[in-house]
Amino acid sequence: MNRNIMRILARSGFSLLVVLILVFCLFPFYYAIITSFKSSSELFQASYWVNQLHFDNYQHILGQETFIHSLFNSVLVSTLVVGLSLLLGLTASYALGRFEFRGRSTVLMVILAVSMFPQVAVLSGLFEVIRMLGLYNNPFGLVISYMLFTLPFTVWILTTFMQQLPKELEEAAIVDGATPWMTLVRVMMPLLWPALVTTGMLAFIAAWNEFLFALTFTLTDDQRTVPVAIALISGASQYELPWGIIMAASVLVTLPLVIMVLFFQRRIVSGLTAGAVKG
């Protein structure tokens, strides 16, 4: 009897904890969403649901040409970063994962270490080089600088996946006279696509959300990416931020990523654990 009560108590304690943390997780973003649907007069009344949908904030932000430019820049930069990282990462991880050669684990360690370095350590040098190449205030300068940080983890995760594939398949292809390139494209690629989706998505999230480089390497409104654009939205004075518009912009740029993460949740977790967890 007593034991049953204890068990029920423990159960409800568990559930309470789960619910509490759920609220903690959901509330800030939920609050941002309802704020984005409020009209400016309702803004300062605290309410926890939307009585009436106002699209004013969305109309305002989507009517701004610079914000549309920023969205376009973000899409362009993130897509290019994903494409190039996957291409270079795939070939590099094929070499690292499938061939024995001297210094292989050193190379892997050097690559892994790079992804841990603070960005500010390379900021000054990168700034000079980008200016020298004429890529200052240009989305392509951002593509180059983001690659430095997406490539290491792309290589790392893809190498891990590559090593799990059965060797026999590849050996059979080689016996049949396939070149390494053909083996990679025809045999390995079809098996690797789940890993490619995962790494591609992680690279996309990283590039889409990056702020420090985007802030440093761009100057004018029309060359910015969305995180910088959001950070620089300001009202008439410093103390009077247009909260509704900021929240609308935040929701707009976040929602696609959140949906993507919810949809591919399992893949992302397995990708993340590939690099970080050892059994």
């Binding site: 789960v18 997780c25 959901l26 061939f99 790079v114 603070p118 976040t254 993340l272 654990t273």
Partner: protein, 317 residues
Amino acid sequence: MNHSHSTLSRSPASSGSTKTSARQGGLSGWLAAQLPKLVMAPTFVIIFVCIYGYIGWTFLLSLTGSRILPVWKFVGFQQYEKLFENERWMVSLQNLVIFAVLFIALCLLIGMVLAILLDQKIRGEGFIRSIYLYPMAISFIVTGTAWKWLLNPSLGLEKLMHDWGFESFTFDWLVNPDMVVYTLVIAAVWQSSGFVMALFIAGLRGVDDEMIKAARLDGASLPTIYRRIVLPSLKPVFFSCVVILAHIAIKSFDLVAALTGGGPGYASDLPANFMYAHAFTRGQMGLGAASAMVMLGGVLAILIPYLYSELRGKRHG
């Protein structure tokens, strides 16, 4: 494809590769033997030359008296001396210690509790897990902005409590120089604990079921099983999490920029914000470079023991 986590988590440097058969003679043989290096070269050159090269550049810069533009007049370690006499730098270091310790501890605690909760085979696990995980997709800028709105004394949480009738409730951490660094902790924990949970869940799934069953048969209680079997086997996950979180803490820049702007005054500056402010807006390039090198030193101090133990573990494993 079925990725069981024990195979998934094998690290890349372990065995399992094919030896190249380079027995054909001549050019094609040489090509086949060199292929891995050729294929890898572009990636390796980009990563190695750029990153390590730029770090070298930053180091050289930190030895000069550069202000707005790089000037190659070397002044030795003067900038480092100036750095540690700078009050704003010391404040940012102190903030980093508070921020990093609390951030790592809370993320680990919440992440582990969540993972253990979700491991009880409760209903709707996948759904709940997604909800805990989604903040990961949100940029620190958006996180910072949303929490700034929420923590704003006259608009957010405080007003909410007043409307509910708790008139005396005050929550002014965002504008209180002594407390502002804790608002950074709250927002960062909100963003990252779901990710820690994901890593712990993966680790929990890798624990040997047979051992748990055996312990159950022997009459061990659930807490005992967790304390004696499950938690010890999570040690590697634990270390990975600490390293990843420490690295997030040290390079935090966006969150401060969006949530507090470093203020009030410079009460909530972190080292990355100090570096950016001095190198790019205040025309103190040499000083900024010196601060970047000190931060890099901090990261290496964490990273080198970790990599060393990884390598050693591999040799013995």
